[in-house]
Structure formats: structure tokens, C-alpha cells
């Protein structure tokens, strides 16, 4: 089911956690809410689930308003960060619990629970207690329980944060597979950009209680709308260069005179920095400070007027201590104005 927030504000006491949030989560899609800790992403999830209510604004499921309905009535499925499996029930009983609450007959309940246990590949463990399972298995159980009553919306609150790195990648593929098999609208909260970018149809970046950008993962990475999104996504962090420190930059970028005073800084991703031999075409010149090789990756640190830039895709690896001239394609350069917003390049041309 489609989820829609209209001017939703959430405050605890004086502190506003979310400020007039508007978004729509399309039906059948996997949408990630991404942001640093304390940005309000878990609060957003709680608001969808009905465990908390907004201070202001409306929430719609489909075209039905559910703002005042509590969690018992909203009938969403949810996977908690620590899974919250009932410790006194077996795995099968845990999966059957939502069905028991719906007063489904016992044999039907069991049939459905076993079917789900097969879907999440946990059918061997159904008679055990949650404590006897590993983290990854517990998480599968939590997903099965959340899916048991066939919810129209599945919510996941940092479900992978308690798993080790390898298992995390495996489970995230699992979540994607289960989501596509069931077609349930899924909202996935995470602070891990790789997680969000790899499995979602759409990513919503949240910071300080406001939506920064809401788009598909590729657009998000290549066309960030503001400096926060540009800096939050991508490892290593995007290189930002203040125009005030390098007055020659604006001329080299060949910006129109009207644009020039608006540009506060520019951003270039590490993999887009290129070396050029022609000094007059170069955006900047600097001295190679350090070259670090880890496995197949070579990272070059270049010092330009006391600032350090990072480049990962130079092609030719320069010697440490040499002077190099660097540039980048104009469409790979992000221009930020004084509010941190991106200035669209189309407007420049």
C-alpha cells in the first residue's frame, strides 16, 4: 500500500525531531530512509507503524487517513533492530503469534507459519527458542513474523546493524529477494549508505528532521541536491573546495558572470579527478602528499594550498612529492551556493 506523509511534524517537548515532512512511498517498492543518527529516521518509522503519533500533520495509507489509529489497528509488519522475538515462545509460535491475535484457526496458523519459515529458510529451527539461534537466524524469524499476517507495509528498523559484515551482505540480498517475492511495500531504515544504495528502489535522505533528497540511488549519488547529500554519500567523502580559497577556479570553470558570485564551493568525487599536463586547463595544481595502496585500490592524497584532496582514479600513479595538475569533466563537478544547495549545471550552459 502507498504511504503518504502530509506536513508531518513531530516534537518531543521543545525539541522538533521532524519538521513538516512530506513524502510518498509508492506501492510495492523498497524505500530506504537514510541519515546520520539522530536525524529522525527511526521516528519516521515509528510514525508509520503507529507506535507514536505525530504532533501535527496527516498520515495516509492508500487514500485512507490513519493518523489517529494505533499500531494494533494499522496492521503493518515490523522488524525491530534487536528483533524483539518473544523469548518464551518457540520459533514457530513466534511466527504464529500475529495470526493467533487474529484468531485464525490453529491448523491454518501452523500451515501459514511453516510456509513463512520456508520462505526465510528457517524451517529446520522451528521448535527452538529464540535464544538458541544465531543473530542471522533470529533476523529471519523476525522477518517471517512481520510477514505472517500479510501486511501491506513492512517496516525495518536497522535490521542489519547487529550482524557481522559478511552476514550483513548476505541478509541484505535475502531481504531484497523476500521483498521481491512477496511484493510488499517495504520501508527500510539505515545509517549505512552502502546498504541503502544497494537494495533500495528509492532512497530518502534525512538530516536534522528534514528530507534532503528523495530519489533513486543512482541519481542520489550522481546528482545530489545539496552539499549534505553529496558529502553523506560515497567513500571517500567528496572533495569540497571553497571558491574563496582559489579565486582562479571560477574562471577555469568558464561560468557565466551571473553565476560566479553565487558559487560558494565546488565538489568533485575522488574517482572523477583526472590528471592533465596542460597547466592552463587544470582546475587546480598541487603536490602529491601520499600514495596509499590497499589491495586493488590506490588512493592519492594531493595537497592544494594547505587543503588535502583525495583521488582514487588517476590512471597514472604519480610519485610522492611531485607537482600535478588536476581537472574533472564539467558534468562531474557539483557547484554549491551559499545555502549549500546545488546550482544546476543546465542553467549554467
Amino acid at each position: 500500500m502507498q504511504v503518504q506523509f502530509k506536513d508531518v511534524t513531530m516534537s518531543y517537548g521543545d525539541k522538533e525531531v521532524l519538521e513538516k515532512i512530506n513524502f510518498t512511498i509508492p506501492e510495492g517498492k523498497l524505500v530506504s530512509i537514510l541519515g546520520p543518527s539522530g536525524c529522525g529516521k527511526s521516528t519516521t518509522l515509528m510514525l508509520i507503524s503507529g507506535l507514536t503519533y505525530p504532533s501535527n500533520g496527516q498520515i495516509y495509507f492508500g487514500d485512507k487517513e490513519v493518523t489517529k489509529q494505533d499500531a494494533v489497528k494499522r496492521k503493518v509488519g515490523m522488524v525491530f533492530q534487536n528483533y524483539a522475538l518473544y523469548p518464551h515462545l518457540t520459533i514457530l509460535e513466534n511466527i504464529m503469534f500475529p495470526l493467533k491475535m487474529e484468531k485464525m484457526p490453529k491448523n491454518k496458523r501452523k500451515e501459514r507459519a511453516l510456509e513463512l519459515a520456508r520462505l526465510v529458510q528457517i524451517e529446520e529451527q522451528v521448535d527452538k527458542k529464540p535464544k538458541q539461534l544465531s543473530g542471522g537466524q533470529q533476523q529471519r524469524v523476525a522477518i517471517a513474523r512481520a510477514l505472517a499476517k500479510e501486511p501491506s507495509i513492512l517496516l525495518m528498523d536497522e535490521p542489519l546493524s547487529n550482524l557481522d559484515a559478511r552476514l550483513r551482505i548476505e541478509m541484505r540480498e535475502e531481504i531484497r529477494r523476500i521483498q521481491q517475492e512477496t511484493g510488499v511495500t517495504t520501508v527500510f531504515v539505515t545509517h549505512d549508505q552502502e546498504e541503502a544504495l544497494s537494495i533500495s528502489d528509492e532512497v530518502m535522505v534525512l538530516n536534522e528532521g528534514a528530507i534532503q533528497q528523495n530519489s533513486d540511488p543512482i541519481t542520489l549519488y550522481h546528482k545530489p541536491k545539496n552539499r549534505f547529500v553529496a558529502q553523506f554519500l560515497g567513500t571517500p567523502v567528496i572533495n569540497t573546495i571553497k571558491v574563496a580559497d582559489h579565486p582562479e577556479l571560477l574562471n577555469r570553470l568558464r561560468l557565466s558572470e551571473i553565476m560566479k558570485p553565487e558559487v560558494q564551493s565546488i565538489g568533485i568525487r575522488a574517482e572523477n579527478i583526472k590528471v592533465t599536463t596542460i597547466e592552463s586547463e587544470a582546475l587546480l595544481s598541487g603536490i602529491v602528499n601520499h600514495v596509499s595502496r590497499v589491495g586493488k585500490d590506490t588512493t592519492v592524497y594531493i595537497e592544494v594550498n594547505g587543503h588535502s584532496l583525495v583521488a582514487t582514479n588517476l590512471g597514472v600513479i604519480p610519485e610522492e612529492g611531485t607537482m600535478i595538475h588536476i581537472t574533472a569533466d564539467i558534468e562531474e563537478i557539483h557547484l554549491f551556493n551559499f545555502n549549500g544547495k546545488v546550482i544546476e549545471l543546465e542553467a549554467v550552459k
Binding site: A71, V72, A84, Y86
Partner: protein
């Protein structure tokens, strides 16, 4: 640090626990053994301490004594009357207190007061509450249209009076234990249950009660043991008599009477052993029950 047990290290550790063993041995173990032996004294000279013969006569005597049978019966009535009601009421109050945010410390102290107050003081107050002519309880019943009940002077009401007071007195302690148990339940389970569609009462029976299992076990075992040992409430509420016409006789009161008032040491010791066995059996049953139903 794990050492291999040698003679030297064993002797050394024995030395460490010797002071405590001395105290426990003198004041706990030795009296237990002596009272066990005493229950089998058939012929005994109280002045010389000579025992001419051993036997089970004391046990035969007490089971022939209608007063002892009444004491056993009353004690069971008391346990059955106090423990379940006390658990239900204190759990209810604990849940309410757990929700109260304002003045919660104040309310908790109020409910804990009866537990720390002397039984004698409580009994005097309840003696007044129960009074057939001037008592608060009869006044309240009168307002509801009931004729006054003689709680303390009618033999058929004495156990009821005793049970009501004992429930009230025991509430505070159980409430504290239940509050701790409730606080130990992770709030996430309630959130998950809400998401899973469990309404208020379903959350109580499916989450709160099972997860309170260990607390419930503790409270019920302690309640049963303490209730089997009831004495001071009887003594204080009925002015050092076992109720009107001996109607509120309990096992411990019986032991007290035989030992201190009638100097029948063998009989008293035998009654003590019977009480010990009853409590032992009950505790074993509860432990078996606990193993079967409280497991996670």
C-alpha cells in the same frame, strides 16, 4: 584462579569459612538435628535430660489430637486464602504503579509501609477496624446495608479476619518484587506485540504474565513458606489466644503452645517436623511446576 584441590588448600579454605560455619552450626544445624531427635523421644526426663526410650509416639499423639488437625486445616486455609489473593492484588497494584508517573515514589512508599511496620501495631489497628460496634469495616458494611459482622469474637469469622489482614500486610513486599519484574520486561516486546495486533488484555496474558514467570515463582514460593509459618498475626490479633474458642489455631501456634505453655517438647518437635515436611513437599512441587512452565 583455579587451583588443584590439595589437602593443604582444602584446610586453608576450611579455615576461612570456619567462623561462619561455627555460627551456622551452633544456631541452625545443631538445633535442627536436636529437634528432629526430640520428636522421637518417647520417654523423657525433663530435669535430667535422660531419654529412656525412642519411638514415634509423638507423631501418633499429634495426629490423634483434634486441635492439631484443626491447626493443619487452618494453616492450609490460610495459605490458600492469602497467597493467590495476595499475588493477584499486588500484581494489579504493581501494574498500576508502574504506569503512574506522578508521585510514584510516594505511592510506592505508602504501599511498602505495612511491610516494615510491626505486626503488633498493625494488629492493634486491625483490631479496631474489625471491632463489631466501633469498627471502620463494620461501619462501611453498615452503609452498604449489611448487619455488623463479629470478626474477632465469632469463631466462624476468625480465619477470614486473619486472612484479610495478612493479605494487606504482605502486599507491599510483593508489589516491590513485581515492580522490579515489570521493569525488567523489555519495552520492545510490547511494541512488537502491538504491531502484531495484540490488544491490551492479550498483551497482558501473552507478554506480561509469561515474562513475569521468574518473579511469580519467587513471590509464590516465599508467600507459601511464610504463610505456612503464620504465628505472630494470630498471636497479636486475638490478644495472645489462638482466636475465639481456639478457632484460629495454626501449626506454628500449636508448636508454640505445646512447647512454651504446656512443656510438651516431644509433641512440639514432632509438629515442627510435620510442618517442615509439608513445606518441603510444597516447595518441591512448585519447583517442578517452575521447571515445566517457566523456561526461556
Amino acid at each position: 584462579m583455579i587451583q588443584k584441590p590439595t589437602l593443604k588448600s582444602s584446610l586453608k579454605s576450611l579455615l576461612y569459612i570456619a567462623p561462619m560455619m561455627l555460627i551456622v552450626g551452633t544456631f541452625n544445624l545443631y538445633p535442627i538435628v536436636r529437634s528432629f531427635l526430640m520428636s522421637f523421644y518417647a520417654d523423657y526426663n525433663i530435669f535430667t535430660g535422660e531419654v529412656s526410650s525412642y519411638g514415634i509416639n509423638n507423631f501418633i499423639d499429634i495426629f490423634k489430637d483434634p486441635e492439631f488437625i484443626l491447626a493443619i486445616r487452618n494453616t492450609f486455609i490460610f495459605v490458600l486464602g492469602v497467597v493467590p489473593a495476595s499475588i493477584a492484588i499486588s500484581l494489579g497494584i504493581a501494574i498500576l504503579l508502574n504506569r503512574v508517573q506522578v508521585l510514584s515514589g510516594f505511592f510506592r512508599s505508602i504501599y511498602f509501609l505495612p511491610f516494615v511496620t510491626s505486626t503488633v501495631a498493625i494488629s492493634i489497628v486491625w483490631g479496631w477496624i474489625y471491632h463489631s460496634r466501633f469498627g471502620l469495616l463494620n461501619y462501611a458494611l453498615g452503609l452498604l446495608g449489611f448487619s455488623p459482622i463479629e470478626f474477632l469474637t465469632d469463631p466462624s469469622n476468625s480465619m477470614l479476619a486473619l486472612i484479610i489482614m495478612a493479605i494487606w500486610k504482605g502486599l507491599g513486599f510483593n508489589i516491590i518484587l513485581f515492580l522490579v519484574g515489570l521493569n525488567n520486561i523489555d519495552g520492545n516486546y510490547y511494541s512488537a506485540a502491538k504491531i502484531d495486533g495484540a490488544k491490551g488484555w492479550q498483551r497482558f496474558t501473552n507478554i506480561t504474565l509469561p515474562l513475569l514467570g521468574p518473579t511469580m515463582f519467587l513471590v509464590s514460593v516465599m508467600g507459601v513458606i511464610n504463610s505456612f509459618k503464620v504465628f505472630d498475626e494470630v498471636f497479636a490479633l486475638f490478644q495472645s489466644r489462638p482466636g475465639p474458642a481456639g478457632s484460629a489455631m495454626t501449626v506454628v501456634y500449636y508448636i508454640f503452645q505445646k512447647f512454651y505453655q504446656e512443656s510438651q517438647y516431644g509433641i512440639a518437635a514432632a509438629a515442627g517436623i510435620v510442618l517442615f515436611l509439608i513445606i518441603l513437599v510444597f516447595t518441591l512441587v512448585q519447583m517442578a511446576f517452575n521447571k515445566k512452565f517457566v523456561h526461556y
